[in-house]
């Protein structure tokens, strides 16, 4: 077990002093070497969960194992780099000096400082005071600090928050690079595209509850075929006899068939043969967005 999962929680629950039940019985498992997307809308409990995993806050109940130790244990923390919420450093110190402070605390060689500055491409600005950094530079310095320990597990809480599209793209590329090899990345986000692009598996959290945990592929579900035809009822009846009722659903005036796209031509032939006019016939993939809104009960476009 311990070799395959790097984060494992059981019934992890946090009720803040204010009475808010922010995280409710979360059982998640992150496997070694993967990039895990922790997905959820604003206020779902992502940050709260991650804070518990690094020992910043204590769970109200439940347990967690992170890198083989209880959260906050010095031996565990030595293997875990994290950037929770926004990056926080001393504004009167330069980026480099801030990393030196962190390096001292983390017990890593000061040589690492320049290495990680290179990785996040901040070397040319490293002499400037943190207080003068832009949001993007601050986030990159946060990632650099998290990388200092050369951690087995990197926990990044919405690292693209506040970045412009170009900054986001760069950050994603960086995370992809970082996540290669044996390193595990646990990335929280409410940006579906981001998660779809870089994550192997996802956990979806909504209202403090982990509502789904699976690979991105599984989450999106099997592929299918979309059919628009006239008359629709007749087409539906006919396809039901061919593929069974379970394989068909009607959405927005079209039929969704859970069949392989290769069967499209056969479907077309049959429908046309029965005198049904086919206006659209194409393979479709559910977007992660659809699944997400379905799982979290969030309205689209809100």
């Amino acid at each position: 077990m311990e070799n395959t999962t790097i984060v494992e929680t059981h019934g992890l629950t946090k009720r803040y002093g204010s009475g808010v039940l922010a995280v409710d019985s979360v059982a998640m498992s992150v496997r070694r070497g993967e990039v895990y997307g922790f997905l959820g809308p604003n206020g779902a409990g992502k940050t709260t969960t991650l804070r518990m995993l690094v020992g910043l806050i204590r769970p109200t109940s439940g347990t967690a194992t992170v890198a083989g130790h209880t959260p906050g244990d010095p031996h565990g923390l030595a293997r875990v780099g994290s950037l929770i919420e926004s990056s926080a450093f001393y504004p009167y110190l330069s980026g480099r000096a801030n990393l030196r402070v962190v390096a001292d605390l983390a017990g890593v060689d000061q040589k690492r400082v320049n290495e990680v500055l290179d990785v996040v491409e901040l070397s040319s600005r490293a002499h400037r005071k943190f207080g003068t950094y832009s949001t993007g530079m601050k986030q990159r310095l946060g990632v650099a600090a998290a990388l200092l320990k050369d951690p087995d597990l990197l926990i990044l809480d919405e690292p693209t928050n506040g970045l412009d599209p170009q900054g986001m793209a760069e950050m994603r590329r960086l995370i992809k690079d970082i996540g290669q090899g044996n390193r595990t990345v646990l990335l929280s986000s409410h940006l579906l595209g981001e998660v779809e692009q870089i994550c192997d598996r996802v956990g979806v959290i909504s209202n403090g509850k982990l509502v789904r945990e699976s690979t991105v592929q599984e989450l999106i579900g099997e592929e299918g075929v979309l059919v628009r035809a006239q008359p629709l009822d007749k087409a539906e009846q006919m396809l039901a006899t061919l593929f069974g009722n379970d394989a068909i659903s009607r959405q927005d005036g079209a039929l969704h068939l859970k069949v392989k796209p290769e069967q499209s031509s056969e479907i077309n032939r049959r429908l046309v043969g029965a005198g049904i006019g086919v206006s659209e016939l194409r393979p479709f993939e559910r977007s992660l967005e659809e699944v997400f809104f379905q799982l979290t009960g969030e309205r689209q476009g809100s």
Binding site: V54, G72, L77, S87, Y92, V102, D104, K149
Partner: protein, 267 residues
């Protein structure tokens, strides 16, 4: 522990608050010497004449301690409140606490470096005070006579203790309220006014039968310790008690602040 001390030192050595406060304590000492010098040479204008010889090097330890409390102590409270409180406003506490060393280890490093800073501040107070007294004695054409080394050492130790206890009060309040601004306000108002009013009230109760409670306050004992070292008259608290009470305050503030840091959620 060594690592956290290193990190804290790296963090604080060029910190504006420390550099400014070093300059301020130096300025306070200069100001005290210069105003006293003026009064000593213009005796008619003051109802409390100051003998010029009070400002010569053999007396400089007493002069410096007079500047160190309460003004230096107020500065220490401000510094302590800034050091502990800014970690909350900058959110850097989470950066510190997720690196590896346990919270208490990280905390100890901070305390060690802070007490070292208080020693540096005391040294600045003494060096500037000595320089001022040399200036005054030279201008007045008297020979330079230094106090005994033991007296300088005792005075320095007392100054350091008083600054450290007050600084720790600032730290503890800042940890309690999780910010510096309110902590500075509470700490300085406590030192300069609340405690004085409280002690006066308690001492007056029931013909002074609760005076022993009044004698447990921080400022009372700091004043008493300085009084003993400068042979002042009318000090009612013994030197031993003042030392014990000051160290007890130091320990209490340390434990309270460390305990809060250890158990509280960092969000």
């Amino acid at each position: 522990m060594i690592a956290t001390i290193k990190a804290e030192w790296r963090k604080n050595r060029f910190r504006p608050a420390f550099l400014i406060s070093s300059g301020l304590v130096a300025a306070v000492v200069v100001l005290v010497f210069m105003t006293n010098w003026y009064q000593a040479t213009h005796p008619g204008q003051s109802d409390r004449p100051i003998p010029l010889a009070m400002l010569f090097p053999d007396q400089f330890v007493n002069d410096v301690m007079g500047a160190g409390f309460p003004l230096g102590a107020a500065m220490a409270i401000v510094l302590g409140a800034i050091v502990a409180g800014s970690e909350y406003s900058w959110g850097t506490l989470k950066t510190l606490f997720t690196q590896g060393p346990g919270r208490l280890t990280t905390w100890s490093g901070r305390i060690v470096v802070f007490t070292a800073w208080m020693a540096i501040l005391s040294a600045i107070l003494f060096a500037v005070g000595a320089a001022c007294s040399v200036l005054i004695v030279t201008v007045n054409n008297h020979a330079i006579v230094w106090p005994a080394v033991a007296d300088i050492a005792k005075g320095f130790g007392a100054m350091w203790l008083i600054l450290t206890v007050n600084g720790m009060l600032g730290i503890a309040i800042a940890v309690l309220v999780r910010q510096s601004a309110a902590a500075i306000g509470i700490g300085v108002v406590y030192l300069l006014s609340i405690e004085i009013i409280a002690v006066r009230f308690i001492d007056g109760l029931n013909n002074g039968s609760y005076k022993w409670i009044g004698n447990l306050f921080l400022g009372q004992n700091a004043t008493a310790l300085i009084g003993h070292l400068s042979n002042a008259k009318g000090v009612t608290i013994s030197a031993e008690q003042s030392l014990i009470v000051l160290f007890a305050w130091l320990a209490a503030m340390l434990v309270i602040a460390a305990g809060l840091q250890r158990v509280r959620d960092v969000t």
